[in-house]
Amino acid sequence: MGPLIYSCDIIVYIGIFGIVCLSLNLEYGFAGLANFGKVAFFLTGAYTYALLSQIGLPFYLCLIASALISAIFGLLVSLPALRLRADYLAIAVLAFGEILRLIMKSEKWLAGGDWGMAVSPIFPYMGSYLLYRLENIGLVFLCLFLCFLVVQLLTNSPYGRAMRAIREDEVAAEALGKDRSRFKAQAFMLGSAMAGLAGGLYAQYLQYVLPGMFMPMVTFTVWIMVLLGGPANNWGVLLGATLVEIFDRGTNIVKDYIALPVDPSNLQYILFGALIIFVLLFRPRGLLKESAIRTKALRLAHNARRAVKNKGSQ
């Protein structure tokens, strides 16, 4: 692969994982939910896309179905799990992801078991790998933009502020009449839908799905991206996704040029682990700090204060 195609490949990955990061940011950053099973919904989306596109549904319907089915899974999981403490939720959802992968692995009639199944791409191969990637970049970043818009508007809205309030103090928020389990379930559902959409895009870009693609490491990578970039900051998590993806690919390139004493794929996991511990110890809020809330009322108040100040100085 030439360097240009390679960079395009990285950009597609950044876009897909950017969407997953936004979804985790919605759940963890804003609503405070420890979703350790992100990969479960990513998997659901990917397999939904794979199975439906096989029937011959057009790709946009497949993508919508990926999001919807993941959202339904998210809702089903969240209904019992959200009443739980953070640690119980984490264990339950992590286990859910493992079970889902196990089902895909053992039910060979459904999606080929261990060997997975081929997925027809949205954009047929037109004789140029570069073109194929550019088309995908267009589609993925369109989806990323839509998701970003949704999350950004949502978290700035009164709804998003209630969500942050629940994250900070459940009891206080409940005392103010905010139904915490409803808010959490909705955040979880929307997050799962976005993860499912990303899964669908991932499946069609790679043109195959198999259970080995959906190891717990995927969830963990997304957590690194979010924690590194800065939870509760949508620009931050996109920055995190970019940095981690470049780091990931960078080590892959380096291994081609430098003979390492350690197997590079192992080394990568070790470095990721070390990176996250470093972030947690020395920069627990991530690179960018939590985004401030911007509303019309706040802006008016700010302007008014400045106006008063200016008056005083005259």
Binding site: A86, A90, V262, D263, I270, G273, L280
Partner: protein, 294 residues
Amino acid sequence: MVDWLQVLFNSCVTGSLYLIAAVGLTLTYGLSKFPNFAHAEFMTLGAYVGYFIAEQLGLGMPLAFLFAFLVTGIVGFLFYRGIFQPLAKRGASIIHLMVASIALGFILRHSIGAACDWNPLYFTATWPAFDVGSVRVTGLWLQLIFTALALSLAMHFLLMNTKIGKAIRATSSNPELALASGINVDRVIWIIWFVGAGLAAVAGIFRGADTQVWPMTGWDMILPVFAVTILGGIGNFYGAIAAAFIIGLAENIGVVALIGLGLSTTYRIGIAFVILIITLIVKPQGLAMLFRRG
């Protein structure tokens, strides 16, 4: 025709394994207030150290158990002292601690993978197998059950009749009060992390000797071990004993049922998951109600 005696015996074997593996997890979870996902890798590390001592150096199984216990115990202590304790002191949330434990697990697992390769290894030691009535028994399984029994008795004695046991129980139920009563809370937690990781290593060797040793040895077992911890009630040793045998029984009966239904037996691990979820929904405190003294 299903031999129910064999199923019962197998349940005891499975339950014993899960008990040894879960003791450390449930006690560290109870004391440090977060689930340590790297517990899986303690088992893996133990299995590898055991394999190295018993197979590469040929020093025999007793020394393998001893060294695995010590080495993994020290690693467990260092993890707590070096990473988790500083994180907790800096006010990390439970979510941060969980992420850190997963990160440490990955570091450990892939360090092992880098050092020893990902191909599975097998213990060459053979175990005498014989039939008691219609029940197939191997020496390894008997050792496993015996170890679990000895561990239960020893832990019971330790928790109930010694000063350190009293300190553990006090710290577990109320750390501030324990500190105020002059208990060195930090030291209690260090000891528990050491012993808990060491016991995980013992479970890892048993699992490795029974099946195979590879970097995922511990992760393959972590789900039922978490189920035991939650069903038994976090930090509750007596609850864990009961839970380990309930889950052992459920898994072995479940395998019979799966074969009967014509489903893949890889779903065996799903049984623990179902119990885990039901416990969390119905009674998140687990069986702890039945064992208040623990």
